[in-house]
């Protein structure tokens, strides 16, 4: 009886150890898998490309993804995993602009050819037309592996576990080379136009993703360029062999039955053929081939039927109120926290744009006075923009006192206090004063004579003034570009909510 109890106890301990040890192994395996996947992604990222994982053939410029995760969470995910999930594939937009963009090169001989279709067509069972696509190159990638980690999930080479078995090793380090790499894309200017056109026709769909009260935005992630690879080459070095047999002399060949003494070259070829047959038998359907093999290292070469996308470049467009699309921001810049794409500057129509903004503000004030609660919120957000202004005017405002003379007269001096309590009115005033001064100073400098010293002094002074005004406008516009309040106001006035 006592013995029975004792054996039950031992069994329980063994079971517990087994359960915990298998849990540990799984956790370790997952950790290692994540690490190798991240390392792989880091190689792609090092080339300023956002990695795609797992590799796919089905991603191309003009693909638009709906990004649902808040951007700060995406940054965390990107830093942790090294790549981003492809999320919701919202739409694939086709355009004939590739013909102009590539100027009829790379087999894009007419505007009806939209890549990569013409390169994907198989000439015969083993060849495609990707060779004529624009080429690309990536640096080699170094890694360490152990058996039992399901490596084919991390590196797109299915024969890696087999190679480890071949070297009779549980531990290896290696290098992976992304070979036969190609790239193609389209410029942001055309793509943005394409996406905006689609966005205008699908406002009702985009409206569902307008910003909610939590302040998080949805983005349309537009793929503008993809990078593909046709072949991955991996060299594995047996770390157990190098550590245990550092002084063991010449490398030993892989042990195989049927190898004869004498003809080394013939034996080697026979061995490689036999190994490749073994690989095919053990992993049917796998295309990887062993190029060289020895006890210390194995080189694998894995071609893909057709090249697969390993990474992309793109830009994000925030979905604003009413389903309107905001200014494009580089996806990479957004994820790495570096600078974003600057908004386009339109100097020519400045006064009319500014007047339009002033009228929008007037319209909003009218709506608020008639009790519109939504307008009240929009106006409140606009008024907060006055925080972007400096405390004092950094330039002098001039006017032209007479049509008969080009002389300028100050109507408000540099250093005057800005009344930020006036909210958005203060912003319009600031830009209006700046534009008036800029316009008059430019006109003055273009026709003023510079013969006497006094005249030269005045010209110098006004040139400095013009610089001050121009930098003041640019500084405020840069700040305003990062704000959505103005876009929301335009939406509110012109589009049904």
């Amino acid at each position: 009886m006592r013995q029975k109890k004792y054996s039950k106890c031992v069994m329980l301990i063994i079971l517990t150890i087994l359960i915990f040890s298998s849990g540990c192994t799984t956790a370790l395996r997952n950790k290692q898998l994540e690490k190798v996947a991240k390392d792989w992604a880091l190689v792609i990222r090092a080339s300023q490309v956002i990695p795609v994982y797992p590799l796919t053939e089905d991603l191309q410029p003009g693909d638009v993804l709906l990004v649902r995760t808040p951007i700060d969470e995406q940054v965390k995910l990107y830093k942790k995993s090294g790549f981003l999930p492809l999320d919701q594939h919202l739409v694939r937009l086709y355009t004939k602009d590739f013909y102009d963009f590539y100027n009829s090169r790379y087999g894009i001989t007419n505007e009806n050819i939209i890549p990569p279709a013409q390169w994907q067509i198989m000439r015969d069972k083993n060849s495609h037309n990707w060779g004529i696509a624009p080429h690309a190159a990536f640096p080699t990638y170094q890694f360490e592996v152990r058996t039992g980690a399901g490596l084919n999930l991390a590196i797109p080479i299915q024969g890696v576990p087999f190679a480890l078995g071949l070297m009779n090793s549980g531990r290896a380090s290696g290098t992976a080379t992304i070979a036969d790499a190609y790239t193609f894309g389209l410029d942001n200017f055309h793509l943005e136009k394409l996406v905006r056109g689609w966005g205008m026709q699908n406002r009702n769909l985009l409206r569902k993703y307008e910003p909610k009260d939590d302040g998080n935005y949805h983005f349309l992630r537009v793929i503008s360029r993809v990078y593909v690879t046709g072949r991955v080459n991996v060299t594995l070095n047996n770390d157990e062999a190098t550590s245990a047999e550092a002084a063991a002399g010449a490398d030993r060949p892989v042990n195989l039955m049927g190898i004869k003494d004498g003809d080394t070259a013939q034996n080697y070829n026979t061995a490689i053929t036999a190994i490749n047959k073994l690989l095919q038998d053990q992993l049917p359907g796998v295309k990887a081939k062993i190029a060289t093999a020895s006890h210390r290292s194995v080189t694998l070469d894995q071609p893909f039927d057709r090249p697969l996308v390993i990474g992309y470049v793109g830009f994000d467009m925030p979905i604003l109120r009413g389903g309107r699309l905001g200014a494009p921001i580089s996806t990479l810049a957004q994820l790495t926290g570096t600078s974003t794409l600057p908004a386009r500057q339109i100097d020519d129509a400045y006064i009319y744009r500014l007047a339009a903004v002033s009228h929008i503000n007037q319209a909003l004030k009218k709506l608020v006075s008639s009790g519109n609660e939504d307008a009240k919120e929009i106006v409140a957000n606009l008024n907060k923009l006055s925080r972007l202004l400096p405390d004092h005017y950094p330039f002098t405002t001039y006017h032209q006192p007479s049509p008969d003379s080009i002389d300028l007269e100050p109507i408000q001096n540099s250093g005057s206090l800005i009344d930020k309590q006036r909210g958005f009115e203060a912003v319009i005033d600031y830009l209006g004063y700046a534009d008036t001064s800029r316009e008059l100073l430019k006109k003055y400098l273009s026709c003023v004579p510079q013969t006497t010293d006094d005249q030269k002094k005045i010209v110098n002074k006004y040139r400095q003034e013009l610089q001050k005004v121009q930098s003041a406008i640019k500084e405020l516009e840069d700040r305003l570009n990062g704000e959505s309040a103005l876009m929301e106001a335009i939406d509110f006035i012109f589009f049904e909510k």
Partner: protein, 61 residues
Amino acid sequence: MALQEKRSFIQDPEPDMTPEDKNMHLSAKLAIAPYRRMQIVRIDRIEIGASGWWITYRTFS
């Protein structure tokens, strides 16, 4: 502070503008500072010599 009358000239940005463009330009100018905040008492059109608008306004000095 005494109330003063002052004048400012808004020149047409281009020669040979259509009446519609001239009016639109003046309208845009009046919508923004500094003209928006002026207490304008009279607007006259000048076509001889420099073309544009005379704006007469009142201000404290």
